[in-house]
Subunit: 239 residues, 4 copies
């Protein structure tokens, strides 16, 4: 059976900023879809305009979600954010990209501020592979570079990750835990730093490889319901 | 300077149930206050009736909070729960007791369902010390017993704890990670299973020792503000 | 390509104790081989008599190793133990069974005493599934039982595991982290408590399912050499 | 009672290399002793020449050990290394400095290769504080800089740390988890990257502050023996 990917991309900058539209004429979601879609992987896309269509039914039929948002986090309804969190707890995988660190579902899942420091300066980022045996880093060398990115800096207000896979080095002097895994409930979570909208980052072959690997890694092996406080019978009672 | 402890105890069962009032005539908070208050430790108490008085000012002047709730989690206003979470992220320590696992602040901090299975059967619980070198287990033997408790069972829907300090063995056949530590932002969190309202658990000397140890452990060494996404200057800009 | 499993079973008790031989006429390794071998999985076996034949070549051609030892840990040569550790660091998966907790390779990989407390009393063990979404617990219910086991007790002198998958409840009153995962270098490690030689535990269908699941989980996705302190070139030098 | 610190410094470079002697006329241990000794802290020093004098009695009377080694790791006797590991498991704190990452006690405690990549180029290192609420980072700003260091690079072959406190940014383009905590058995471990012998790093005020903080943090609260597989009595037997 195909891996079913659902992309949420805010999709606002592509409409309001000429330079972003020039890079992503079909939206960031369009570039991601193009990177992921194969005979093995089907992709559906939602933007802020259609965010309410991300129903439980859509999520129940999603193996892995990708989430990109930036300027309009607050406009995602609380119910949609809670729905996405609950789907992860039941087993759906999710990949948060770049400024998705401040999205409602990421903050709900982390329980922390998810704050960080940032600078828009067109820095070069060199992403070092900290864990070369992980499925998500498969096929990369010791590091790869992105010529221009938005700089993110520590401290990054997240819980201690299960695994730090990438640490980013920025030409301007910062460092960042640019690739982190978590698991919450039955679902797997990957946060990946690259993806600022004013640079063609989602066309980069290494970035695409990481995202493809992450989708494979985050796909649930099997789906179990989150336990809803089942009553444990007394000894002697029938279960 | 004294350690400043703030207790939230829902305080409903003590009013509505005769058998609970008989055990805790001064409320669960009264028993906890009695266990903690010394020349070194000052204690303030709040109940559901006064929950709105848990203001930012109160929290800024709290080193460690204790939280007990059960039947009325939903009646704690969202703003209060968010305030408590934010205080933890800034450095306040917090100890969640028993059914506090389903309280709003605990769920906000964990990001997961915090579900578990349970049974009210008056089981004996033997709490095994998994980490005998931890400050919270100092002064205990290899285990201690509580003759009657509410049984909690795995799976417990929490993120992987930093440390599992106690595993509970129940006479009816369950096990539970009965003492777990976490850190989120700048604050330390301890979850402790014992404390069902129909048993005199908060008079038990081992339980009191654990809670006193936990208060010492969770007290912030120093307070730093949670970083609010400070802008990183470009090289050359003044900071 | 087949998954290549290599079993080390000490194989002493089966020769020296009538009651063990009666249960495992073909050795514990024979029972494990029978449980694992399929069209997809090939199995090779070694015992203390042939332990020196576990060469680097054997390990380079092993996807996942199983290790059972008890009375003769000290007779496993240090070089063999170091070879096994190094193979794990390079990516080989390994499953340590029961008293393998005190084997040389496990202690080398953990860096701790790996001590525990124990009692031979024929207790019943109920193994609770703490993480129902993990590949290793796939296909199990909420718990399964073994009518007679050797009791192991906490504290278990291991580093904090990546994940606790099973907690054992013993009828005599102990608890134990009976299933734990770790990763070290590029390799995955699973420790599993059941397997005392005087009980027919390796014929139990749930135990066999767990071990089969663990082999699938521990199989390396791809093999990378452990980095041997490569010199990083100065900027300008050729790499 | 005073905090009792024991320093092991290999002490070879100070004898064989003029430039190192010029920086550390009293040895690296001399500089560290000077940084630590107060009315509250007593310091004893050992070098490779006296390494055999690091007996169990010395370790039993040590709260926190500092370990610096580089060229002569192999000459530290295995028994001394095992003794140090065992003291940590019993509760002694330990701080490994710089090239101590490849020392025998660190490798024994980690169970991994502890390999890394390195370059001697006089790079500037900027150490970012990843966890500003930790006792070890108390009193530092968001980062501090060392004008010339030996560059260390990822991947660093260690188990996932409990906490990453510092990430180093190097002017030549590398990153490194420059400050990491672990706990093993009853003891606390801190690894700290700075300290190359050809630069006056141990005179730097920020480095000294970190080491002083680490000594306070690693000091055992109380000492418990590592459990030596105590037999658990059968129910009914006397304990």
């Amino acid at each position: 059976m195909k891996t079913r990917v659902t992309i949420y991309n805010e999709g606002v900058h592509e409409q309001t900023k000429e330079n972003v539209r020039a890079i992503y004429p079909n939206g960031i979601h369009g570039a991601l879809k193009e990177a992921l879609e194969t005979d093995e992987v089907s992709v559906s896309c939602y933007t802020l305009d259609t965010v309410n269509e991300i129903t439980d039914e859509v999520l129940d039929n999603t193996d892995v979600m990708l989430w990109w948002g930036h300027a309009r986090h607050a406009m995602v309804p609380d119910e949609v954010a809670a729905r996405v969190r609950d789907a992860v707890l039941k087993g759906m995988g999710i990949v948060f990209l770049h400024s998705g660190h401040h999205s409602k579902p990421f903050r709900l899942l982390m329980g922390t501020s998810c704050n960080l420091t940032w600078r828009e300066n067109g820095d070069m980022e060199r992403l070092w592979v900290v864990n070369p045996a992980h499925p998500i880093t498969q096929g990369l060398g010791r590091y790869f570079e992105l010529p221009h990115v938005e700089t993110y800096g520590e401290p990054f207000g997240i819980p201690e990750p299960d695994e730090v896979l990438f640490i980013g080095w920025y030409s301007g002097g910062e460092v960042f835990r640019s690739g982190c895994t978590f698991h919450r409930g039955n679902g797997r979570i990957f946060y990946f730093q690259p993806g600022h909208e004013t640079f063609p980052i989602f066309y980069d072959e290494n970035v695409r490889l990481v995202i493809r690997n992450a989708v494979k890694w985050a796909k649930p092996i099997y789906r179990v319901p989150e336990l809803l406080c089942p009553h444990v019978k007394k000894p002697g009672e029938e279960e």
